[in-house]
């Protein structure tokens, strides 16, 4: 198995890429591209599952590392590896890939080849972001992840695809310009793009503090737009309402949040800590603002978009609370949000396929017509609003309790208000769509409940939600180890205690 351990991450990157090339070559007949894409994503998922089974919890630092010179000048290395932080995110991305393919199975009717080629390319880019440890390689994948997304939004947008695609692209591309300058500046000072090297050099104070502030800000800005953090969320609702279901569910939030943990806090702990009060405030505003806007939406894609803003802001709160528990909870919440949001998107996609509208008031009384859809929708909703024993609860609890104990009671209370609002808008959505009198639209169409394939995909997700809710200890130790990894440890309070002293190893 050792040989596989050395090449597993490379394989995870290459298999979707190879799949994309294959899909491009086969004829677009008899759903051949679909099957090929499904096969590719299942193989990739299988490969990602290799990681948790061979991950050595006792070892600190990165594992499954490959570090080979790629480009001589500047010194760019093909350096990949994962730790507790990225391990489960890679698996999550692997899990969502086949689900994304299945969600597009019937929804994508025209130009299937183009769709699946770009979808698989997007997968490679996402895995690349999670596993890259060389800043240039990371940046490469980060940028690459924008292109397929933008093109697919333009191609399959529901109303005004190109406009939404342009908005999405520019919103995320322009902030990456300062990010690249910051990376180049780090390189100009050190001659290295290597994450660990830079981390050490920064911790030992090799940089002028003033310039480091700007570099850290450039990193933060790029990531905050991608998450998005209030008030940088302008692209979110258009993207959610225009993007094909498969893409909306795979991109939501994860890349930006992971990058914050790894590259903002990881590289610039001192600056990140200095920025944390502002980010906490913005996060709480985002939670409440997103929830309030979600309450008044008439279109369910938009509702989900603002709900996502609210939920992602909660994760930001956990990350920038600078407690081990909060950060662990944040990563756990990313996983849970990925699964739950994936299922929710899928279900909404099912509704949209069947009834061709996203106006909430066109629906009503659907539960009588589509009982299994209703069951699964309610289950997913409950997981999303954080009902205990379902996955959403664990992360929310960890984040809020650490904020309450370790950061500030006021912010924690305010954030909890957002969760109450969250329950309100989600349950109200369920009520309006599935209960009450049957609307004209619903009664005019023959009932077409979930098919076997769809059920076969949604039930495992539902079970996973339950398992994540009752047995979080499967995931939490790895995540915590990733979060605690030195030298991050010096930045964190051990439990609920607030750190007031300036941490070791930074600039004074």
């Amino acid at each position: 198995m050792n040989a596989l351990n050395d090449s597993i991450l490379t394989l995870i990157l290459l298999v979707p890429l190879a799949g994309a090339v294959l899909v491009a070559l086969v004829p677009d007949r008899a759903k051949l591209p679909n099957w090929l894409a499904l096969l590719t994503s299942l193989v990739t998922f299988g490969l990602t599952l290799h990681l948790p089974f061979h991950y050595d919890l006792a070892r600190n630092g990165f594992q499954f590392v490959v570090n080979k010179p790629w480009i001589e000048s500047p010194a760019i290395f093909y350096h990949v590896g994962i730790d507790g932080l990225s391990l489960w995110l890679v698996v999550l991305a692997g899990l969502l890939a086949p689900i994304g393919v299945l969600a597009s199975w019937n929804a994508i009717q025209s130009r299937r080849k183009v769709f699946f080629v770009l979808f698989l390319l997007q997968q490679t880019a996402m895995f690349g972001v999670f596993v890259s440890l060389d800043l240039m390689v990371y940046y490469g994948f980060w940028e690459l992840s924008l292109v397929p997304m933008a093109i697919l939004i333009a191609m399959y947008g529901r109303k005004d695809g190109p406009r939404a695609a342009l908005k999405f692209f520019l919103f995320t591309f322009i902030p990456s310009a300062p990010l690249l300058v910051a990376i180049l500046w780090l390189y100009a000072r050190t001659g290295s793009f290597d994450f660990t090297t830079l981390q050490t050099l920064i911790a030992y104070g090799q940089f002028p503090a003033g310039a480091l502030f700007w570099a850290a800000l450039a990193f933060l800005f790029a990531f905050a737009v991608k998450v998005p953090v209030f008030p940088l969320h302008g692209w979110l609702s258009d993207t959610y309402s225009e993007a094909p279901v498969a893409l909306a569910m795979v991109v939501a939030g994860k890349l930006g949040l992971y990058s914050m943990l790894r590259f903002h806090i990881g590289l610039f702990p001192v600056q990140a800590r200095a920025a944390s009060p502002y980010l906490i405030a913005l996060a709480v505003i985002g939670i409440l603002y997103g929830a309030c806007l979600a309450l008044v939406q008439r279109d369910f894609w938009k509702l989900i978009a603002f709900a996502a803003l609210s939920h992602l802001s909660l994760i930001v709160l956990g990350i920038y609370g600078f407690t081990v528990i909060g950060s662990t909870g944040a990563v756990y919440q990313i996983l849970s949000h990925g699964v739950v949001d994936g299922a929710l998107f899928f279900l909404l996609g099912v509704l949209y396929d069947r009834y061709a509208t996203s106006q909430i008031n066109a629906y009503g009384g659907l539960a009588a017509r589509l009982p299994s859809t209703a069951t699964l929708f309610v289950l997913t909703t409950l997981a999303m609003i954080g009902l205990p024993i379902l996955s959403g609860f664990v992360g929310e609890f960890l984040i809020l309790s650490s904020t309450f104990g370790g950061v500030s009671r006021g912010w924690a209370i305010a954030a909890s208000m957002g969760l109450i609002l969250g329950a309100a808008y989600m349950l109200w959505l369920v009520q309006r769509v599935f209960y009450g009198p049957q609307s004209e639209l619903v009664s005019s169409r023959p009932p077409d409940d979930l098919h076997v394939a769809e059920l076969a995909m949604l039930w495992p997700l539902a079970v996973l939600t339950l398992v994540m809710g009752v047995a979080p200890s499967i995931w939490l130790p790895t995540i915590e180890q990733g979060v605690r990894r030195p030298p991050l440890i010096t930045q964190y309070s051990p439990g609920f205690v607030t750190i007031t002293s300036i941490p070791q190893g930074g600039q004074r």
């Binding site: 500047p74 025209s110 130009r111 690459l144 093109i151 333009a154 692209f169 322009i174 310009a177």
Partner: protein, 506 residues
């Protein structure tokens, strides 16, 4: 010293000249009914031979020939190969897209090859008068090519505009050469470099340098000398634009590198801020104007102005890194720009059935291959990683950061964010679902023949190689940069230059 026969120093140029002459003679002696298309193949073969000859020149020791007027070095070979490559792709492109019954096909191919002679000579010349002559050879060929669609109104307009403004620019260059001769008493580049720090009349030399810069910056279409670009691109046939927007610019950038790094390294404090300003102006003006364009070729014209700006950012870099970055960017820009114009030529045909951005709507549905290629090249122009455009920008801006021009890098990268808007507009319009209500397009279904296929393949391969494994090209660019940075060789014995009496106060 003179162990290398002089003729080997200009072997690629000789081959190209012979090819051009042969094409012209055959064209003239064939009866009028016979198709001229094979002449295109002759030109392509000649260009390939010239490319091989350039590569073969690597085995020659670095040095000059013909009384220190032309040089072969890693630097000149880099640009020779690049230019021959561009010309080859353009010829292949023209082979399938030039209308079969078109008049003057033979002249068209001959002009392209003669233009290539000028451009190649331009990069190898180390004597300002030869630089001037080479510039004229390449310019006159492109002036004529620009007006090749003379049945349209825009064709002659483009040619005349290009010719008038271009002649002015060359006049500026020549005047600059004259002033420098006045200041230093020579037009040989190494001798000027020797004499420049000692020149008594510094203001004369500064004026000469400034005038030369104007002439060269016009050729690379940098703002504020860019006004001709969109009009000329719009009026010229697309395959000609593929050539014109890349090869003469590459040659002009080679001359610019020579002028600033080889002749006037001591005047860095003067030219560096000038080029800084021109770089910022070019990218900003180019991008802002491109945002508003509806015509694809005009948009790409403005985009090429912006790219000249990104490239000029590399000149803020110190010595070798700046030269290598600029050379690399030239290659990357050439690969993707030739590529995109090749796609446009195939889509629109010689007659340009689809000039507007809106015409491209749904292209990805009608022709996935061409639509995909168009998007690919646009993505490279945006500068997304794993394409040549990314590493071009990357090296250019890291050279700027290395030369502590961090603001230039920030302005440049913000500009490339801005640029993404208009590239994306075209790419997204391509990806958009075709309008069901629109009447079926009258455009002929684009066909990809063997020659065009080869041209596109070359462009795609070059763009990908520069984006994924740029090591070799970068190494070539760096060794070129080293030869340019090396102290100029002492005068070889046996070279007699008839000196004119020194002008000015001794």
């Amino acid at each position: 010293m003179n162990s290398v026969p002089d003729i080997f120093r200009i072997l690629p140029e000789v081959i190209l000249t012979l090819t051009g002459v042969a094409v012209m003679l055959i064209d003239a002696s064939l009866p009028s009914g016979i198709p001229r298309r094979p002449l295109g193949w002759v030109s392509a073969i000649g260009t390939t031979l010239a490319l091989w000859a350039s590569l073969w020149q690597l085995s020659l020791p670095q040095g000059t020939g013909f009384y220190s007027t032309v040089e072969t070095s890693a630097f000149t070979i880099f640009f020779h190969v690049l230019i021959c490559g561009i010309v080859l792709v353009t010829l292949l492109l023209s082979l399938d897209t030039l209308p079969e019954d078109s008049h003057h096909q033979g002249e068209y191919y001959a002009l392209i090859v003669f233009g290539a002679v000028g451009m190649c000579l331009l990069t190898g010349a180390v004597e300002l008068l030869v630089v001037f002559i080479a510039l004229e050879i390449s310019s006159i060929a492109t002036y004529v090519l620009a007006g090749f669609r003379k049945e349209t109104a825009r064709g002659p307009e483009a040619a005349i505009k290009y010719f008038l403004l271009g002649s002015f620019a060359t006049a500026f260059l020549l005047y600059g050469v004259a002033l420098i001769f006045g200041a230093t008493g020579t037009t040989q580049i190494y001798e000027i470099a020797h004499a420049a720090p000692l020149a008594l009349n510094r203001s004369l030399m500064l004026a000469g340098m400034a005038l030369m810069l104007v002439g060269i910056l016009f050729k690379v279409s940098a703002a504020p000398f860019h006004v001709w670009t969109p009009d000329v691109y719009e009026g010229s046939p697309s395959p000609v634009v593929a050539l014109m927007s890349t090869a003469p610019k590459a040659a002009a950038f080679a001359v610019l590198l020579r002028v600033v790094y080889e002749i006037f390294p001591t005047l860095r404090s003067v030219w560096s801020p000038l080029l800084w300003i021109v770089a910022v102006l070019s990218m900003t003006v180019g991008n802002l104007a491109a945002l508003r364009q509806q015509n694809v070729k005009r948009m790409l014209g403005y985009s090429s102005i912006a790219h000249a700006g990104y490239l000029l950012a590399a000149f803020a870099g110190l010595g070798t890194s700046g030269i290598a970055a600029a050379s690399f960017y030239t290659a990357a820009y050439a690969a993707m720009n030739v590529g995109i114009f090749a796609v446009i030529t195939v889509i629109g045909g010689y007659d340009e059935a689809m000039p507007m951005i809106d015409d491209y709507r749904g292209l990805l549905y009608r022709s996935p291959l061409l639509g995909g290629l168009l998007i690919f090249f646009l993505v490279s122009l945006v500068g997304i990683p794993f394409t040549g455009g990314f590493f071009g920008k990357f090296y250019s801006f890291s050279a700027a950061v290395g030369g502590s021009a961090i603001w230039l890098a920030i302005i440049g990268l913000l500009n490339s964010g801005l640029a993404a808007a208009y590239y994306l507009r075209l790419a997204l319009s391509t990806a958009q679902r075709p309008d069901e209500n629109a009447s079926p397009s009258t455009a002929p279904e684009p066909q990809v023949g063997v020659a065009v296929g080869a041209a596109l393949l070359l462009a795609v391969a070059a763009t990908l190689i520069l984006g994924i494994v740029p090591n070799d090209v970068l190494r070539a660019a760096e060794s070129g940069a080293h030869t340019l940075q090396a102290p100029p060789p002492q005068n070889e014995p046996g070279i007699v230059i008839e000196r004119l009496p020194k002008v000015g106060p001794e």
